[in-house]
Amino acid sequence: MDYKKLVADCIKCIPDAQRQLYEHFAPAMLGICFRYTKSIADAEDVLQDGFIKVFKHLHSYKFEGELGGWIRKIMVNTALNFLKTSKKYQYDLSFSEMPLHPVSTNDPVVDLQTKELAELIRQLPTGFQTIFNLHAVEGYSHVEIASMLGISDGTSRSQYARARALLIDWIEKFSLKEQPEKYGRK
């Protein structure tokens, strides 16, 4: 796909080009939004806000990195804003010290399906879920995460360790045929 032409046409507000850009990236971006939220409806709200930002700021994209990566960053930031401003996520995004879950010494081989793993990540408390997504999936360092969420990097590290331990515990249990709740549209 010729991204340069597509971006140029989107900047000119050509509807077909906008639709094409959306259709090309929307499924992957909804996957990202889905990992940060607790429901598909919230994920779609984040996706909507994110794409509005994408079209608004597309003129500032300088082709210095991949277009997908640029859109992905916008989606992650939109998701973080959504979590910060949405009351129902506020309770879980407190990053308070919680009892440490036992850390598994044996890292499991993740032989779950993609959607099953994503569902397990979404079962984590919002704080854990956010930090796990940012560090394990997006690849941000703890210092970066600390500045993004307004916490110390130590908190980020400890929260991540707990999230990771909890998730490994669940993966192991899941592998032993303990079925988690099915996710999906309500």
Binding site: A41, I52, F55, K87, K115, A118
Partner: protein, 449 residues
Amino acid sequence: MEENKFEKQVQQKMNELQIQPSEAVWKKIESQIEKKKERRWGLIILFLCSVIILSGGYWLWNGEKQKVVENSRSEKSMLEKNSNSSATIKEDTIVQQQIHSTSESANRKNNDVAKDEEKRKAKENTLFNNSKANQPFNLDDKSATMFSIKKKIKDKTDGKTEMQISSAETSQKQTVNENTINDSLNKNYKEISVDSLSKPVVLDETIKHEDTSKHQQAIIETIKHSNKKRWKFGLLFASGVSGAGKDVFSLTYPAASYNSGNLNSGGPQQQGFSSSATKAGFGFIAGVSAEKNISKKIEFASGINFKSFSTSFKLYDSAGTYSARIAANKYINHFNFIEVPLSLKFQLGNGKHLPLSWQAGISISELISSNALQLNSSTGYYYKDNSLLNKTQVGFNTAFLLTLFSKQKNSILIGPYFYYDASKIANEGLYDKKHFVFTGLHTQIIFGK
């Protein structure tokens, strides 16, 4: 190493995650993008209208200024001409006296030796020479005046040859202004019988008086004309209470639940959450005004204003997120507009010291920003969505204004102001079918008398 292995596996799997969004998401995105385009166009149109109004006002202002300068110049020249003509009138008095004495002697001769043609001709020649002798001192119009008088004398004394003299005299060139003055003089002379020629001074005063009054009238007309056409500019500020209600008299509305239709699309619908009562807040209007007389007692007023209205309700949260679940904290919704008012100002009564006027008109406003919250009644959360608000608003304004310092160069207008927004604030959401109402004190400074 182990940690990296686990993370890599997770990262790989999560990067593969793709979910097809529902069609409604794109429709919402599309409508938002289009609204932004429309809003941009709205702002461009508003900006262009403002530029046209301001440049038109400036052009008219300059044009009228030039006209006033030209009028004052023509008045000056009229005054100069009038002073000349009054000098002429004085000279005419002398001539009339001469004519008068001549006519008396002619009458006498007519009685004594009526048939002495030679002598009469000699006298007429003397008269003619007299008038000619005055010419370097006088204007041509005097000759016409003399002709008029002499004709009357001739009619009375049965003269015959005066027409020849008159044709010679009237052949001289006369300017338009001089003609006007001559006409006026001739008219007066014709109306007066020959007997009344014995009172030439009275006649002169009448002419002078009529001429002065005409001149004054002309000046008044000029001033009136220039005042009527001139734009007056000013600054205005109105502050007071703004609110949103269902009718003209309501600034508040009680707690109620609303369907937002925006959040949790596809999620389960819950009932029960309602907004707290919406209360009135502070509002103000500030801007520049331009006014112009369209008749003796009616003025047209326009301008461009920044208008800010606010309403308030209570929320739950303390850190930037909002909920209607527990009413505790106050939140103020601001609505900022650019407004173009179009009004007529009617002068009431004949108050000379404190003139009172009634202003009424319409205002076209464009929403430029707002922090207004909407309520999702199913979740009980407030959220911002300005796309639900109608961007263009049309309302009615009215005010009773008392003019202070009306005889000074800059006058101040002060009085109660009322505004009602005929357009709905929004067609859905928390402000569904509500209208803005604003009432306050209007103050305005008009520059120039």
